[in-house]
């Protein structure tokens, strides 16, 4: 059962330093072999100052920078084993590069509960030197009805 008192609540902020090898590792795991993610010179030829983080890198910042998110989910009443990812949304304001120190802040934007399922939306704001670089929203669904 969800603890509805968490709706609108912000969790502690965290920092994450973007490591070059994590950018490459994520691209390798996806199977994305675009050389802009692996070769700094190739990235520069394409107008980047270094290899840029790929589109879904926010997930790395979130899980590696704030692994406590799993405890937070349990705290608010999410059954991790029954959790399904419903949607993910990114807004890109600035490219993210190796060496960037990113500050992340996660909040519970919305909660809904019915006899069949719980729905929770998290919003994460990522900043670098107080400038927002990325905004992410994740919606999860937890099936609660009898199977």
């Amino acid at each position: 059962m969800l603890d509805m008192s968490y709706e609108g609540k912000e969790f502690d902020s965290f920092t994450y330093e973007v490591e070059r090898c994590k950018i490459k590792e994520l691209c390798k795991a996806i199977g994305d072999d675009n050389p802009v993610f692996f070769d700094k010179e190739e990235a520069k030829r394409n107008g980047y100052k270094d290899i840029p983080a790929p589109l879904t890198f926010g997930t790395v910042i979130n899980f590696w920078g704030y692994p406590e998110i799993w405890d937070r989910m349990k705290e608010i009443g999410v059954n991790i084993q029954r959790l399904l990812h419903a949607s993910e949304e990114y807004e890109y304001l600035q490219p993210i590069y190796p060496g960037d120190i990113i500050t992340g802040k996660v909040m519970v934007e919305g909660m809904r509960s019915s006899s069949m399922m719980d729905v929770v939306t998290f919003k994460s704001i990522y900043t670098r030197n107080n400038e927002t670089v990325l905004i992410a929203k994740m919606k999860i669904v937890i099936m609660t009805g009898e199977q």
């Binding site: 994590k22 590792e25 994520l26 390798k28 795991a29 996806i30 199977g31 994305d32 675009n34 802009v36 394409n46 107008g47 980047y48 840029p52 983080a53 790929p54 589109l55 879904t56 997930t59 790395v60 979130n62 899980f63 590696w64 692994p67 991790i80 084993q81 029954r82 959790l83 399904l84 990812h85 419903a86 949607s87 993910e88 949304e89 990114y90 807004e91 890109y92 490219p95 929203k137 199977q147």
Partner: protein, 139 residues
């Protein structure tokens, strides 16, 4: 690959397809480590079964990553301003995924020239795994 000229694309323009043949189980292990998402429904068969699934399932974010590869190959990371997906169906190891996209609206305003694209990932049977959209800014 370079983003085509704004004037050369029309509504209905199809983005180049990207296909990933038969996602191997080991890719889920790699993706778990890379992303830090260690939910065991993606890597441990017994755990997945206990959770009521037939077996381990592909991380939704890996599918989003593959679709993201298709759009960033086409448009370049720096030209993408928004990207979102809805997860429609479970993807299993062994599924072959095809990422597709179509320009469904192009427009100009005080901030520049843009195209909104409609996106989709489907498997070998044509089942839709993910629908999505992205906005691309033209220089």
């Amino acid at each position: 690959m370079a983003l085509p000229n704004y004037d050369s694309i029309n509504e209905g323009y199809e983005l180049p397809l990207l296909t990933k043949e038969s996602i191997p189980k080991v890719q889920l292990v790699k993706y778990a480590g890379a992303s830090g998402d260690f939910n065991q429904i993606h890597t441990v068969e017994e755990y997945a079964k206990q959770a009521g699934l037939d077996g381990i399932i592909v991380h939704g974010m890996l599918v989003m990553g593959i679709l993201g590869q298709m759009i960033s190959d086409w448009a370049g990371i720096k030209n993408i301003t928004k990207y979102s997906v809805n997860f429609k169906a479970i993807t299993k190891p062994g599924d072959t995924l095809t990422a597709k996209g179509t320009v469904n609206r192009k427009y100009q305003d005080e901030k520049g020239k843009f195209a909104d694209c409609k996106l989709q990932v489907e498997d070998q049977k044509g089942e839709v795994k993910v629908t999505g959209k992205c906005t691309v800014k033209f220089e």
